[in-house]
Amino acid sequence: MKDPCHLFLSSIGIVFLLLASGACNRGDRHTDRSTGEITEKEMDTTGLLLKYNANLFSIPSPYQAAYFIKKHDVSFSQDYLHDPGHHARYNTSFKQALNMGVYATDMGYLHIFNKDKELHGYFKALKKMTGELGLDDAISGNEMETMRRSLTGRDSLIFHLSHIYRKFNAYLKESGRRKTGALIIAGGWIESNYLLSQIVLQTQERSLLNRLGEQKYVLDHLIDLLSSYYYDSERYTQLVDALVDIAYEYDGVIYNYYYKEPLVKEDEKLTIIRSSSNVVISQYHLRTISNKLRNLRNKIVS
């Protein structure tokens, strides 16, 4: 006969395990600030468990590249941008998500160069793809309308774009679709660096060249972000392989870093980082990286 105490303790253990699994799947109540709606969202604990080592890799906003290009008095060129009318050709969530990122980057670029008229076509494409990717519930009608109105306003579009894409990203994570969110981010990075590389090839502007060289670490982060999905399908495998292929070329880029003690301004809650860095990138690596970025970008928008 089994020890009754052992049976009792085992029963408690089983009950707690059942309750814990239920607690992990408990919905997260979230109040939407713009509408006041309270929604229930399922937490993607699988994703959280994968990140249990608690290391996350960030990808900077693609709009930083657009601002940086503008700063250097580069002439605007529509030739580099993706045609918003092509959104109709994307019939898989893989292509739709990548091109959501592409179009967001192009919208930022157009806005920063004051090309408001051209923005409407991109907004229409973005709105259509939001529906196709099942992201309508991520934002309210008010938020989309606010963004539409900001197309002709000065400077607010970027705020609204980053706000909406953050909501998309959070929604995708909470609904167990992290890889779709990762693809949107990947599309944004690929497009912004494709634009940067084409402009560098044209202008040979030193600062822009350095900025392209500095993408070395960000690309490593992007590969880390996508590597979880490497074996999901051939398309993910090819995408990651293409990014790794570009990363190999970045191994030839020299990045020098020199630490200097920061300066703190307590009253401004500001630290001035005085450390310096520079990048040494050869014409060979510039051309090779630019070509590989162009090829990858053209593949994802085709």
């Binding site: 029963s11 408690i12 707690f16 309750l19 607690a23 992990c24 997260d28 937490m43 604990t45 959280l48 990140k51 249990y52 080592n53 608690a54 290391n55 996350l56 890799f57 960030s58 990808i59 900077p60 906003s61 693609p62 709009y63 930083q64 601002y67 940086f68 700063k71 967001a104 920063i112 400077d155 970027i158 705020f159 980053s162 706000h163 894409y165 953050r166 990203n169 959070a170 994570k173 909470e174 969110g181 949107i184 981010i185 350095n210 900025r211 500095e214 670490y217 960000v218 982060h221 870093y257 630490y259 809650k269 500001l270 630290t271 001035i272 980082i273 450390s275 310096s276 860095s277 520079n278």
Partner: protein, 139 residues
């Protein structure tokens, strides 16, 4: 068994569990002049009560970082290191402020470490927002 389950449910309902809730107070810390990255960075503290966020801050930019959580009993410790593990920022020297601004003249790859000092594992999420300041030459 029914009594046992009832007791267990009672235990769970009394102890409020925020472990799965994503904190949402970070936005108010960011400030209107900053454009955030297109994603929130949310991580669960590991067994050492630490979460790490690897990022790149571009030169000629000013950033705001904000960190928030639903942890009530322990202040968040925020440290920023460069890739050589030099300490660039430590919020324990600034009253555990949950947000701070950083100005970079050169591009620096960094690790933002968020931790709590507790004897036991704090099974909670922490959220990091990173925003860059809209360039002044466009204002």
């Amino acid at each position: 068994m029914t009594i046992l389950v009832f007791l267990c449910f009672s235990g769970v309902s009394v102890a409020q569990d925020h472990s799965g809730e994503v904190p949402d107070q970070c936005d108010t810390l960011m400030g209107g002049d900053y454009i955030s990255d297109d994603q929130d960075y949310v991580a669960r503290l590991n067994k050492n009560n630490t979460a790490r966020f690897h990022t790149v801050f571009y030169g000629d930019n000013r950033y705001c970082i904000a960190v928030c959580s639903n942890i009530e009993d322990h202040p968040l410790i925020i440290k920023i290191f460069d890739t050589e593990r030099n300490l660039l920022f430590d919020n324990t020297k600034h009253d555990h402020t949950p947000y701070w601004h950083l100005a970079f003249s050169s591009t620096v790859a960094c690790v933002i470490e968020v931790k709590v000092k507790a004897e036991k594992h704090v099974d909670q999420l922490v959220k990091l927002l990173i925003g860059f300041e809209k360039p002044s030459y466009l204002q």
